[in-house]
Homo-oligomer: 397 residues x 4
């Protein structure tokens, strides 16, 4: 630890709810634990409700508050715009911020439609020519166990992929009396379990395998079509899916099953992914997020088995910055890793991952799932997968 | 334990390989531990290779050997015919045995086609009029943890079913050099992973939920199309599926994902079933077969969680006959439970479960999966599910 | 599988309760699955209550019943005497049987005192000169996962031993209303949790490590001093320990903690053993008996972890005789392995393990524990550990 | 979230290594997530090496640096002194700070001797009269799963305690080539595994059970007596224990086994505690810190088992301040809970827990363990346990 002067960069964040808290924590932890070459300054917090925004700013030491996002992105002291709003505002803000020459971190899903996502990718590509960076917030890629899984796949430790099974299971809608929210309104959220949590496992499996999903057979369902409004006065119409299931094919030929639901009683945030290859297998469950299970088919017969790797060693991704072995990390650490990696990319002039193009790829799978569900679960190709497949590379820290 | 005289019943078993050993063990354990009202006598073992059959008979104390199955079923001292042959002989033997007035236990899958299965159901119904019983060997229903799961579902402990996820994962074909066998030949085995192991999870999920699968979207694949013949001379053509994945709907509206594969590296005999209902959930993995996980959403918030029930208490299904709590059972115990239950059904004049009709139901789902896979994964209804749904009941001991 | 004629050996078993059932199962399974060179014949079952013994004989196909154990051991057709009585009769029967030239399998603990055990060892040594074999029934040595653990230790996979932690946890006395039985009477059972279940983990840890326990600090307690008699009339005095805890040293310097209790609510038959060495660790819990956890400190840093070995592969001890991978075994299989190994030892003229001397070693540790507890937990050396240590060898099949 | 003005309190922290980072994170997270009535300001960081201290201050936004701890505690803007130094400085700093009227948070172990700890308790009692608060940093009490365990014990959910087994297992000294550090020097660290990590499980078990350890039989060992100095020049003498094992009795009569070691290969930070009571049991392992296992013996027989409680619900201790269910916490969160609770205690004028007296109680057990080990593992009473037992109460948030 030697004394250094870091160039500062002003962060302007829009949104102060759940994601706003996670991102605030990410920015300051990135500085404290990773010491990136650009030092983040929390200069402006954007939110429509000034009182709430100011309260949030006080708690997380944001230096100022803006109630108009256009004012926020226009500020000279804001170098990076962090978008934590619902999905229906992502495209407009991101495109405007990039046009202002601000780096952008945009929460997932990238947008509420493929069209919007394509516009965003275009804007990101234009900005890139001027050294402006754009990243989409699939933070689970930076859970150390999953980053390690990615490294093991890339190192050939599981061989040729045969099977993917991926589930994102929650249960907060199991009770029909659970209240209505914007997440159940298609005009705000785009989709339900599919876009909110299914998008994560779509991204993660493409990331982990370095392959694409080329087509799907899908079914969506809404088990409880209306729910009480929070105020207690009347009900709101649920216009999104409660649950999504689909079969998929990966570009290398592997067979996949996917599931995203808010009705898996007892599963709170179970991101469960298993990959089976010719040389080994990997298994993960976010509810036990510091653990990666690895089966090495090249080990001696007698001692083969799934190894429970406690991913807290200094040699594991991101862990060198934290605590001694066995002192486990939590959910929010992914946001710190994300912030640190983005700041390093900006400082070094490299493309951060996941890119807006990665976000678009997820969006196209989401769209294919929706199209298949509408077509009686018929097979639907994922747009652009032939062209995109070649040359894709994702880097893991 | 008081002294009793039990009426004897002669068992004639056809087949002496893996299943023959498991069934032999089942018959004698049924007598020793469950003391059913009919006492099984191992009178005749049938097999084409006399030397092998005699060796097997010596080891398991079968009283005699027959090399012609027709001779075996015709014997006066044989009251029950136990069919452990490959699937292509099931229909012929079973129908002939029933016609001889012999009770029949037939290994799963019931047959290699829906047509054959329908013939067998017809034969079983005719024989039933004369008090002759027929049962199909889906033994996993009698793993105590699964029998307990069935009881909890029936008691309403998980409420309305929302999700089913079911997998039967093995890995013995992962290596492309694994040798050819009759199980890879469609003319002998009917199908591959789908019929051999997928059939088990189709039956189990229908059994556990007391519902039917009404339709599917499916994909099948054969990753390694030819394999070395055991002798070392040339290769055999793999004409069955290596892996099957499908989406399904249950009659009550639940969404389901299914998978059966012989390529899940590291999974040896992983029958994994999870049911999510509005009031609770159940989870099971055969590799830890003495355990059932139960989530009770009606428990106090503070202590809700998946309870790891070690299914070895005297109050649990079948356990009263075995060892003290914590002294776990193994794979073969299901065969003892099956034998004991069948003998009790015959003695009491009740219909044993699973019936040939249950076996036909599985066959129809298998057929729908194959039809869907051939039709580009299009949705295919399962034949007869409307008519059959009402009034189905499966009893658990 | 070729046809062979095996020389027969008549088994005479004394005792027909829990252990009698387990041993009956062991003898016939040994023949069926392991096909040892001596083929066991179940010629005589001994028990004081003729009706109960005959009922048991009917169920397990014992050919005859004896109500006098002296008559049983004197029979010409009995070549091997299997002693399944309470501990207070072990010495007398075993010594008499050996004097008759009968091979002996004696349930554990070998005896109720060190003196008796020494007499038995002497008798066994004398008989050995005439080719008569004696074995004590610590069956858990033959749980495949523990036999594998032994092999890994012997192969140096965990290096120099540093720590042993061993627990045998049950909970059937937690309820103060649980009834009195002979197991709570010191004159019948010798000791309580210590001798009944503690003896198992004493033997297992000495077996697994190939070392001796050289001394202990111990405490015993009886939480519930009297209990209702089964008939409902009055109470019985509990004269044995309910629970035992002790510290121990192994001959190689490792530190150990031991615990045996019948008051560990929720633990049904939890034999939990963990060994930590300089190169690796092993962990086991009988409630998940098909699994062995192995940590290999020589593996690459990145993928180190405890490997969950599902001990069901043909390369694992005893598994070649049973089912395909993943088709797990249960409690009683240890009795089959024990019977098969003993028959093979007799046939081949080798010394079976564990020997009566091994049983004596356990007895001496039990005695040291009792002495320490009586001396206010002061350190007590285990008798004979210096002399015995050198040259001990235990073989694993 | 309504806007509020919180009274500020200046924090002066001494020490900037591992613990300094954890405490820094604790103070700012306490403010951000718990919004206590006193708002912490990070006014001064103390450390002898100015450059290192300044670097740490930059990263964690400490406003200034002091290289003399006396200067730091004398500052008017410091209201609370947070002591993160090695144990040999705790007493001097804490007593001086309390004399200055500063609230004190002191890392564990409270001191390196009972004498020092008694002085500190006296100082804390005197300061208390003036409304000055003192707390010792046994942060693991504030892992939500353990705080929940405490609540369940207090609610009578496990009944009368019978057994405690507690282990703190690490493996960073397994390799004899691991370098020397101050933690291996008795003059700096006081003791080795015993005081560093054993102290945690001593405190935790007394906290969880609301009982005291009344006496012990103990053994200590140092497996590797000298180790290479970090610079590479020569070796350092290891003057502390590598491992400690002891038997203990709790004030209510329960039997306990304890173990603390740095040689448990593969166990990284395994704080494993199991409590067995007449009505239930609890089990915990820090390596899976978001989980508490609870066995409720009052549940229906059929569904009894250990329930895996994922301690992330809003009704669980501390969780309301964090993320949605299933979004797990990590190691450092305990420090945030500790900071928040201490600030609330100061604001509300209540006594924070654990007190210096609690720290002294741990110290006395540590001293008894050392005395027993020196006396050949003879039984040693824990000082003051008779007087202290009555009326002890620990509160859980």
């Amino acid at each position: 630890m030697t004394h250094v002067d870091r160039a500062p960069i002003g962060i302007g964040m829009i949104g102060y709810a759940f994601m706003g808290m996670a991102h605030s924590q990410g920015w300051r932890n990135a500085k404290s634990f990773f010491d990136p070459k650009l030092e983040p300054r929390l200069v402006a917090l954007g939110g429509r409700d000034r009182a709430k925004a100011e309260e949030m700013a006080r708690r997380f030491d944001w230096q100022s508050v803006e109630t108009d996002w256009r004012a926020l992105i226009a500020r000279d002291d804001v170098g990076l715009v962090d978008i934590c709003t619902p999905g229906d505002m992502h495209a407009e803000i991101a495109i405007a911020a990039l046009a202002e020459g601000k780096h952008v971190l945009c929460e997932k899903p990238l947008a509420n439609s493929v069209d919007e996502a394509e516009e965003m990718v275009k804007a990101a590509e234009q900005a890139r020519a001027d050294g402006v960076r754009a990243m989409v917030g699939f933070t689970y890629r930076r859970v150390p166990a999953l980053a390690l899984a990615r490294r093991l796949v890339r190192d050939g430790r599981i061989g040729t992929l045969r099977h993917v099974r991926a589930q994102y299971l929650q249960d907060w809608l199991t009770d029909p009396a659970a209240p209505y929210s914007w997440r159940l309104d298609a005009t705000r959220a785009g989709s339900g379990a599919l876009g909110d949590i299914g998008a994560h496992v779509i991204d993660l499996t493409q990331f982990l395998t370095d392959e694409h999903i080329t087509g799907v057979n899908a079914a969506l369902d809404t088990f409880v079509p209306e729910r009480p409004l929070p105020g207690g006065d009347g009900t709101g119409q649920v216009t999104v899916d409660d649950a999504a299931v689909f079969l998929g094919r990966f570009s290398g030929g592997a067979m996949a099953t996917f599931e995203a639901t808010r009705y898996a009683t007892g599963r709170k945030n179970a991101i469960r992914i298993e990959l089976n290859g010719t040389e080994g297998s990997l298994a993960f469950d976010f509810e036990d997020m510091n653990t990666l299970w690895f089966y090495d088919a090249s080990a001696p017969d007698e001692t083969q088995g799934f190894t429970r790797i406690l991913v807290t060693e200094p040699t594991h991704p991101y862990l060198g910055a934290w605590w001694p072995p066995g002192h486990v990390l939590g959910y929010e650490h992914g946001f710190s890793h994300q912030a640190a990696d983005l700041l390093t990319s900006i400082a070094e002039g490299t493309d951060p991952e996941p890119s807006f193009a990665d976000g678009l790829r997820v969006q196209r799978v989401v769209a294919a799932v929706q199209a298949s569900a509408e077509a009686g679960s018929a097979w639907v190709d994922v747009a652009g997968t032939n062209a995109d497949t070649a040359g894709t590379t994702w880097e893991v820290a």
